[in-house]
């Protein structure tokens, strides 16, 4: 997870460079760049979402059941416990990544007057 996070952030230019541009919402190039970074974060997280629910808990459930954690067959554990924990973690990673991205592009709402 750690290394993936870094990959996501690496290419975002420094916050300051964009501060002025952000003031001008019509700067579509800037907005497009933000959107494509957003899509990238989404795709990575949704890939994990899919593999941890449909992958481990359904498609590969039977082969994973040969392994045990405590009294749980592994595939069964993923289906009734593990996948849910991962879903929660995924959303919080998303929240963090997006808050960082918003800041880097000057789209964070803390600067709004509300």
């Amino acid at each position: 997870m750690k290394c993936k996070k870094r990959l996501l952030i690496r290419k975002i230019p420094s916050a300051r460079r964009y501060q002025n541009k952000a003031a001008n919402m019509s700067n579509t190039k800037h907005a497009k760049k933000y959107w494509s970074k957003n899509i990238r974060i989404l795709s990575i997280l949704l890939f994990i979402w899919f593999s941890c629910s449909f992958g481990t808990s359904i498609l590969f459930k039977e082969s994973l059941d040969h392994f045990m954690i405590g009294g749980f067959p592994l595939g069964f554990w993923f289906a009734q416990q593990g996948s849910i924990y991962i879903f929660v973690i995924l959303i919080f990673i998303y929240v963090r990544q997006m808050n960082k991205l918003d800041k880097a592009f000057g789209f964070d709402e803390d600067q709004d007057s509300n």
């Binding site: 997280l45 808990s57 359904i58 849910i84 879903f87 919080f92 998303y94 929240v95 789209f107 709402e109």
Partner: protein, 571 residues
């Protein structure tokens, strides 16, 4: 104190609390009424969303369902939580930025068409009404068993309570009562689960107890023991399940996508202040939901093992009190087929003598495990909190659909805010009465339709909203035909394979299993209907011109989080 005195006391206190909150949070404008003023904190919204989402079905029926389905029950666990990932990543932040009051608002504006808006309103009403009838029924069951009043009286008491705080407070009243209801229901769910986990495995945390060694001296893992018991009684192994892989896959997907497309869940994200709050409250909501959803499979395992251990091969004349109590409700029944005076429980209907309604597993669980009276009373209050909170959320969607989407936006744009608010309250009263009617006279198919409501939401809303956000060039012709074909296909499949409408009624349904398309059950067909919706929408889209520039600008604007305005009742 007896169980019944405890029940009156605890339910009385919780009801007084809900009413107190309603009076404190009276709605003064349509903005208060529809979206709680748009200033709910992410934490409160997370809790309210969790209570809104966890219905009587989650609280009362789900653990019981899983305990009879074993691994197959995972479809509910994953389906009803995984949808929040889709909701948080694909819908909630953008819809919050868009910032109006309802889902049909978004569809109508994004697809620049009142036809689209009306199609969306009809889908929202169809989904919400089927869902809310089931909630009122849940209220009735709890009242009849624990307070020993007639089911109908129970439904009417429930109606009056919901009526009071939904009509007075609108979304504002509902939000803060839901926060209280979440606390009641999660406490009521966890306490017995923890007690039973300690009894059976010595572990305090049920999620761990479920995978631990039994403390009956056998040295066996709980799940290992349950697998063995299940096979002995002729059932499939608990951890293996018996549905086909493609069906499990399709049902899970349909429930996830349906969850993300349910209007009463989506509107909750209109109530927070900023886009980042919408993201955060989706995470918090799932966290709060996950507490119950990871405990439920543990409760399922405990309850099933306990039931088999205490009842199978025991003498009927010496059964514990709870058995006779539940027999009175008709949800539990015994027929001594081989006349030996013992209760035999078996998978094969010829020798099985015990009928257990899956709905009673959670409610009867504390009694089966011999827990103190106040715990049993607490579970009753929790069941009511779950049913009332969801019912209130749904009623609001219904009332907003009528007063806002139809009256204000289509027929009478000249309505003032005051008039619209009065109309919204009237529509809420009307919706409560209809819901109560269905609670008292449940059409036989309510339970079946509640599960299918997800298929309908998946087949209609989800593709239209996602395309509206992620595909700027999506036009109204594409979106409308996608929604119409999707929901009609889903309805057709439901009527054919769930109600046997074209083959001679419900009795023919079992023989139609062979004809299921791709081996997918009606519950999982929402996945197929959703894909068809996407394909039709994109195909039709390519034959018509792109949407006007003003609409494309809206799309560009909702993709950027900053500058979110509080919801306004105008364009």
């Amino acid at each position: 104190m007896s169980t019944q005195e405890w029940t009156y006391l605890i339910i009385g206190i919780t009801f007084a609390l809900y009413i107190g909150i309603a009076i404190w949070s009276k709605a003064g404008s349509t903005k208060d009424f529809y979206v709680a003023g748009g200033s709910v904190s992410p934490l409160a919204n997370g809790m309210a969303t969790a209570a809104d989402w966890m219905s009587a079905a989650s609280f009362i029926s789900m653990a019981g369902l899983i305990s009879f389905m074993g691994y197959d029950g995972s479809v509910f666990l994953m389906g009803w939580t995984g949808g929040y990932v889709l909701l948080a990543l694909l819908l909630a932040p953008y819809l919050r930025k868009f910032g109006q009051f309802t889902v049909p608002d978004f569809i109508g504006t994004r697809y620049y068409s009142n036809t689209a808006r009306i199609v969306a309103v009809l889908c929202a009403l169809l989904v919400s009404f089927t869902y809310v009838a089931g909630q009122m029924r849940g209220v009735g069951i709890v009242f009849s068993r624990f307070l020993e009043v007639d089911i109908n009286t129970g439904v009417i008491i429930g109606m009056l309570i919901v009526l009071f705080y939904a009509v007075l407070g609108g979304m504002k009243g509902i939000t803060y009562t839901q926060v209280a209801q979440y606390c009641v229901l999660i406490f009521a769910f966890m306490v017995p689960a923890i007690f039973i986990s300690i009894q059976m495995t010595g572990k305090v945390i049920p999620q761990i107890g479920m995978g631990s060694v039994l403390n009956d001296g056998s040295g066996m893992y709980l799940l290992e023991k349950l697998d063995k018991l299940s096979v002995e009684l002729g059932f499939a192994e608990y951890t293996a399940g018996s549905k086909s892989m493609i069906d499990i896959f399709a049902i899970t997907m349909a429930l996830m996508v349906g969850t993300a497309g349910l209007p009463h869940v989506i509107v909750r994200f209109f109530t927070v202040k900023r886009v980042r709050d919408a993201r955060k409250s989706a995470g918090l909501a799932l966290l709060f939901i996950a507490i119950l959803y990871t405990t439920a499979p543990a409760v399922a395992v405990f309850a099933r093992t306990n039931l088999i251990n205490t009842i199978h091969e025991s003498t009927y004349s010496e059964v514990p009190d709870w058995f006779s109590n539940w027999e009175k409700t008709g949800l539990l029944s015994f027929e001594d087929k081989n006349k030996d005076g013992l209760i035999q429980y078996h998978a094969s209907p010829e020798i099985n003598e015990l009928k257990v309604d899956r709905d009673i597993m959670v409610l009867a669980n504390p009694e089966i495990a011999n827990l103190p009276n106040w715990v049993i009373a607490l579970v009753a209050a929790g069941g009511l909190a779950a049913a009332l909170s969801t019912a209130a959320g749904l009623l609001l969607v219904i009332s907003a659909s009528i007063s806002h989407d139809l009256a204000k936006k289509v027929f009478r744009p000249d309505l003032t805010d005051k008039q619209e608010l009065r109309l919204a309250r009237g529509a809420a009263v009307f919706a409560v009465i209809i819901a109560g009617y269905f609670g008292i006279n449940p059409p036989g198919f309510v339970a079946a339709v509640v599960a299918l409501a997800f298929g309908l939401a998946a087949a209609s809303f989800f593709p239209a909203i996602v395309l509206g956000i992620f595909y700027k060039k999506m036009n109204k012709q594409g979106a409308i035909s996608g929604m119409v074909v999707g929901i009609c296909l889903m309805l057709f499949y439901m009527l054919k394979f769930k109600f046997g409408l074209f083959d001679g009624g419900v009795s023919a349904v079992n023989n139609l299993k062979e004809e299921w398309w791709f081996g997918i059950s009606p519950e999982g067909f929402g996945t197929v209907a959703m894909l068809v919706n996407f394909i039709i929408a994109l195909t039709v889209n390519s034959f018509y011109p792109a949407p006007p520039d003003s609409v494309q600008e809206i799309v560009e604007n909702i993709r950027i989080p900053s500058g979110a305005k509080p919801p306004q009742n105008s364009h």
